[in-house]
Amino acid sequence: MATVQVSEAEKVYILHGVRDDLRVDGRGCEDYRHMEIETDMVSNTDGSAKVTLGHTDVLVGVKAEMGKPRPMVPDEGYLEFFVDCSANATPEFEGRGGDELGMELSNTLYKVFNNRYSVDLKSLCISRGEHCWVLYVDVLLLQCDGNLFDAISVAIKAALFNTKIPKVHISEDEEGGKEIELSDDPYDCMRLNVENVPCIVTLCKVGHRHVVDATLQEKACSVASLIISVTHKGTVTCVRKVGGGSLDPESIFEMTETGKRVGKALHAPLMELLQEEESLGKKRQKVGFLG
């Protein structure tokens, strides 16, 4: 992952700051950086969103395609994740440089969404055992400035919120042959319930404390971090530890509590923002990639 070189003196400076709940950029330990969200960015996806967190820039597109339900769960659709670490983000990703990170990120996303509560998979089923919607969630890293997980998770939530799946219904003719019919009204589409989609909160252990939304410099000072995915109710769906150092159980407990609190606090304004943007409809001023 993208790293920065931090000198010992700088580290000490950061550590001391965190100890006093005052970070280099003036935030408190549980504050996020400035976040920008825009949805419906890519017209040829069914749902998309771009999230800018500090200088971290993530684009998520959701494509709905028809597929066959998995044999174990014949009445559910499923999600597929793919993270593409573009060399735009950092030169290190050039060639196959980003593959490892991409894999790690997508694996984490599978874990985070691997529960019955985050997305109502049953609503993605078209006909039991035969057809279901498969949502391909493609994540593109445009710029890395730390805290990728959180940015990605927020972007995914926004993109899923934005996703419009065309409505289909199945008509049966006399011989029992099934025909999939598509509504000719482009506005006639299905929306997903994203209420329970979790957000990831990454907590970095810096010195004796932990910080939310660590910058690259803070990350360099941290030995280990904890990834916690939290729903709007504060339910934790997944916890992972990343980084080389170790965490003692007590601080894990503390970090989880912080994660839940921060996560809950993140969901409410996010949903509000998305609803507001949606309500603007066609009047919304599009910002796009150059804005």
Partner: protein, 946 residues
């Protein structure tokens, strides 16, 4: 400005795809009007002065029709009086989506400079583009787009100087759309209202679609099944699919021709209005076969729908009568009922208006010229004007509670009885393409003056020194064959058949070729010829006229004294015909011992060989059949027929025929040897034995036996069938035999295995000798040219499926051309009888029907029906015996070949179906026969009886 259009569609593999298209909006789309000063347009389409005079809009205006108007009123839009119309892109796209043929017609109008139709690309105009809103259907969106554009036009044209100000009138039949448009201050009219007030277009108002259909509470017909039910029914075998063929003689009867696997096709009989269930001739229908106990035999009653029947009583009676027909189990046929229509085959029909008895009525019945088409109900206020005219009517639909289909007036062809009009009707009814050749076709004609070039000479054999001559009927301008004959040093003779090299001028695939392929054949009507290729070719460059150098395709034989072919060769050549003779002239030369020039010698040699060839051919079993053919003497000024005579055959006719047959057979063999898969050949299948039933019965009535097991046996027994004191009997028998024959057809050798030509008793046959008037010959020429290395091939020539498709078209065109020819002769016969008044003639009974006899008058080659039932008279006692067949009327029995005397007159009571009426004079049967008519004034007779 960039917008994107997004829509979702289903892919072929069943997936669902979201498609995003870029859509650019522009500021530089101009309004196309001459009055506009704002738009920087280079050319304008819409005129400054618009001349649609209308009661509704007295001011100058442009019309702006919506999609439904275009779809339903395309006939009006095509009218030359409707000009200055704005067609929106939205409308154009919708029309294209909904109906390809109408789209094509609309495009043609748009391309017509005279019509001043302007396409406004509103979908790309920045100010008129709209996006579909939530909850809005695609149609609503388009209607809105049309309104927005109309609004834009009105505002836009308001900016022009006041004196030139024009208005835009939106035409719509949609009430909701009209209301909304009026809300936003647009001038909107329903098409009907608009056009009924167009004063200068009298016939237009009749074309207005009857939007409020004739409704009656009574449902007359069973509902048609939906297509899905029909399809599953056909799959499971409960229904059969076939082509509906209405009976010419009986409007309550039809057959459905069900195509089975391979040759296994059957005919299903349909009887009664309910069972016919609104099917129209040539529709593709689904039928259900009735249980065996409901099967009936085809009736031999001749029934004509005699007009609107307010009560159905008479009809039921007729139907009852129909069913009481012969119920012998043997004659019963598979009977069914129509359950649904798979594909309508409606075209605009020619015919006449049958005025409603009620004055001021706007709904009238239209009687099509083709008797197999039912009457059509149309709505018009111009009935009085249209009465007596031949008109074209398109069918719109046939609701289940209506006795007749509903339709609308398309155009008038001219007044009935007018020769031009009648010929037009005849051509239209027989689907004969007869428009002038298009510019694209004419562009492929060689440039005049045309000369044979050095290159042509280099690849062709120079036969200009040969004594070639042509023999044709008098007045023939498209001479496609010429002959020569000369002695060779070895005692054999060289005979050449030279055929016009049309394929040199018509190159494969170009517009002229496609047009010729579509036309298929030249159609000869009495007094008119509809050419297959432009006249420059048919009457000049390809015509092998005398004393000019012409390109030819020659077939040259070396023939020994016994008329056996020693050697055959084919070559492209250049010839110079020494004489173009008529049959009579040629005959005269042969007979005149004093003439001894080269041409005459050549003719004599040909004649001698032809006689041997003919004899040999007849020995092999070629049939000599007969059909009464008549020729008219046409008055050179009025073009009315003044006399008619049956065609006379001279020796020279058969001389030419004999060599043409020989050439055709030689060529057929050559191209088949060379291209066994894709040779275009002609076959004449042997008729199934059942076809000869009528012939056998007829012969039996004179105690004779006709052997029909082979062509040879048939030919011999026909020769032997003579009755003393009845010389015409043999001809009658031959006429009957002709009717037993199958139709000869073109086919592709790769698609068939039976090549035999029954009538000519030849194992293989094709058409090579008339490329000017038959397209098949052009293809054969091309094949032969490839075979001898004189020309290159092209893919379609070697594709047997394409060949086969071409053959189907050619067969169809030939059939229709024949029908058209017959109809033309029939029409001229009527004209002839009109001028001659009532005549008494002798004739022979050709067929016996249940309530009529069909009589042939040898003198005129005319066939007519004598009915024994009359509407206004009590029917005489009729006993029909199908076995003999014979019909006993009041004790007198009529058999086939009986000699009768009839009066012939023209029945002009129905202008459309003017027919020759025959009534019996002898034998005298009281209450049935009529008194012979008064002889015509002497003067007239003397002149005409020459």
């Amino acid at each position: 400005m960039l917008k994107s259009k997004t829509f979702v569609k289903k892919t072929r593999s069943g997936g669902i795809m979201k498609i995003v298209r870029e859509h650019y909006l522009r500021d530089d789309i101009w309004c196309g009007s001459e009055v506009c000063t704002e738009c920087k347009q280079e050319e304008t389409v819409l005129q400054k002065d618009t001349y649609i005079e209308s009661n509704l809009c007295s001011f100058p205006h442009y019309l702006l029709p919506d999609t439904n108007i275009v779809l339903s009123q395309i006939d009006i839009l095509e009218d030359p009086l409707i000009k200055n119309v704005i067609i929106l892109q939205t409308v154009l796209q919708e029309v294209r989506h909904r109906s390809a043929p109408i789209y094509k017609r609309l495009k043609d109008i748009l391309h017509d400079k005279e019509k001043h139709f302007y396409t406004f690309t509103n979908e790309h105009h920045r100010e008129t583009y709209i996006e579909r809103e939530q909850g809005e259907s695609a149609n609503d969106r388009n209607d809105r787009a049309i309104r927005i554009s109309t609004k834009w036009y009105s505002d836009h044209l308001n900016n022009t100087p006041t004196d030139k100000r024009l208005k835009v009138v939106l035409l719509t039949n949609d009430r909701g759309n009209k209301e909304k448009a009026e809300e936003s201050g647009l001038l909107t009219y329903r098409c009907k209202k608009q056009h009924t007030t167009v004063t200068s277009v009298p016939q237009d108002e009749t074309a207005v679609l009857t939007s409020n259909e004739i409704t009656s509470s009574k449902v007359l017909f069973p509902e048609h099944l939906p297509l899905s039910r029909i399809q599953s029914g056909i799959k499971s075998g409960t229904f059969q699919q076939g082509t509906f063929r209405a009976s010419r003689d009986n409007y309550l009867e039809a057959t459905v021709f069900v195509h089975g696997e391979g040759d296994d096709s059957t005919e299903v009989l349909i009887q009664g209005l309910q069972n016919l269930n609104r099917a129209v001739h040539q529709d593709l229908v689904a039928v259900e076969i009735l249980p065996l106990n409901q099967w009936v035999a085809p009736s031999s009653v001749v029934l004509q729908d005699e007009g609107p029947k307010e009560d159905d009583v008479t009809e039921e009676e007729e139907e009852a009568e129909l069913k009481s027909g012969p119920s012998g189990a043997a004659s019963r046929k598979p009977t069914g009922r129509v359950v649904g229509i798979i594909k309508r085959n409606w075209r605009p029909f020619c015919g006449m208006l049958f005025l409603s008895q009620i004055k001021e009525a706007t709904r009238h019945l239209f009687t099509p010229a083709d008797r197999r088409i039912p009457r059509i109900r149309i709505e018009t206020r111009q009935a009085a004007t249209l009465a007596g005219q031949r008109i074209m009517v398109a069918v719109d639909g046939w609701p289940k509670h209506s006795r007749y289909p509903n339709g609308h007036f398309v155009r008038s062809l001219g007044s009935a009885g007018d020769k031009e009009t009648e010929t037009e009707v005849l051509l239209l009814e027989h689907d004969v393409p007869h428009q002038d050749f298009s510019q694209a076709v004419l562009s492929f004609l060689p440039k005049m003056p045309w000369n044979i070039t050095e290159e042509d000479m280099a690849v062709r054999e120079d036969l200009r020194n040969l004594t070639v001559c042509s023999v044709d009927p008098p007045g023939c301008t498209d001479i496609d064959d010429a002959l020569h004959c000369r002695d060779l040093p070895n005692g054999n003779q060289e005979v050449g058949v030279h055929i016009a090299d049309v394929s040199h001028f018509i190159r494969p695939g170009n517009a002229m070729d496609l047009e010729a392929a579509n036309r298929g054949t030249t159609v000869y009507l009495t007094g008119r010829r509809i050419d297959m290729v432009p006249e420059l070719l048919s009457s000049n460059l390809c015509s092998l006229r005398s004393s000019v150098e012409r390109l030819a395709f020659s077939c040259i034989w070396e023939i020994n004294d016994k008329a056996e072919i020693v050697k055959t060769r084919f070559t492209k050549s250049v010839i110079n015909s020494k004489a173009s003779l008529t049959y009579a002239e040629a005959q005269m030369r042969i007979d005149d011992a004093n003439m001894n020039d080269d041409t005459t010698k050549s003719l004599r040699g040909l004649n001698r060989l032809a006689k041997i060839l003919k004899k040999r051919r007849i020995e092999k079993g070629a049939l000599t059949l007969s059909s009464p053919e008549v020729r008219f003497h046409i008055d050179s000024e009025t073009h009315d027929p003044i006399d008619l005579q049956t065609k006379e055959l001279k020796e020279t006719n058969s001389m030419v025929e004999e060599f043409m047959l020989l050439a055709n057979i030689s060529v057929a063999q050559k191209i088949y040897d060379e291209f066994s898969e894709c040779a275009l050949l002609r076959k004449h299948p042997a008729p199934p034995p059942s076809n000869y039933d009528i012939l056998n019965k007829a012969a039996k009535s004179k105690d004779m036996v006709i052997h029909t097991d082979s062509a040879k046996a048939l030919a011999d027994s026909l020769d032997a069938a003579q009755v003393d004191g009845f010389p015409y009997f043999n001809t009658l028998l031959r006429i009957l035999a002709t009717r037993c024959m199958m139709q000869a057809v073109y086919f592709c050798s790769g698609m068939d295995s039976d090549f035999h030509h029954y009538g000519l008793a030849s194992p293989i046959y094709t058409h090579f000798t008339s490329p000017i008037r038959r397209y098949s010959d052009i293809i054969v020429h091309r094949l032969l040219a490839v075979a001898i290395g004189a020309d290159s091939t092209y893919p379609d020539l070697m594709d047997k499926h394409k060949q086969s498709a071409l053959c189907n078209n050619l067969n169809y065109r030939h059939k229709m051309a024949q029908y058209a020819q017959r109809a033309s002769v029939a029409y001229h016969t009527q004209l002839f009888f009109k001028s001659r008044g009532i005549l008494n003639e002798e004739g022979f009974i050709l067929f016996v029907r249940k309530n009529a006899i069909i009589v042939l008058i040898p003198k005129f080659g005319l066939e007519g029906t004598v009915f024994f039932e009359n509407k206004d008279k009590p029917s005489p006692k009729l006993i029909f015996n199908e076995e003999v067949p014979s019909l006993t009327v009041e004790g007198h029995s009529f058999n086939m070949f009986d000699k009768v005397k009839v009066t012939i007159s023209l029945d002009a009571s129905n202008v459309q179906h003017q027919k020759i009426r025959m009534s019996l004079v002898e034998p005298v049967i009281s209450g049935v026969s009529v008194a012979p008519s008064e002889p015509e004034p002497e003067v007239k007779r003397a002149k005409l009886d020459r």
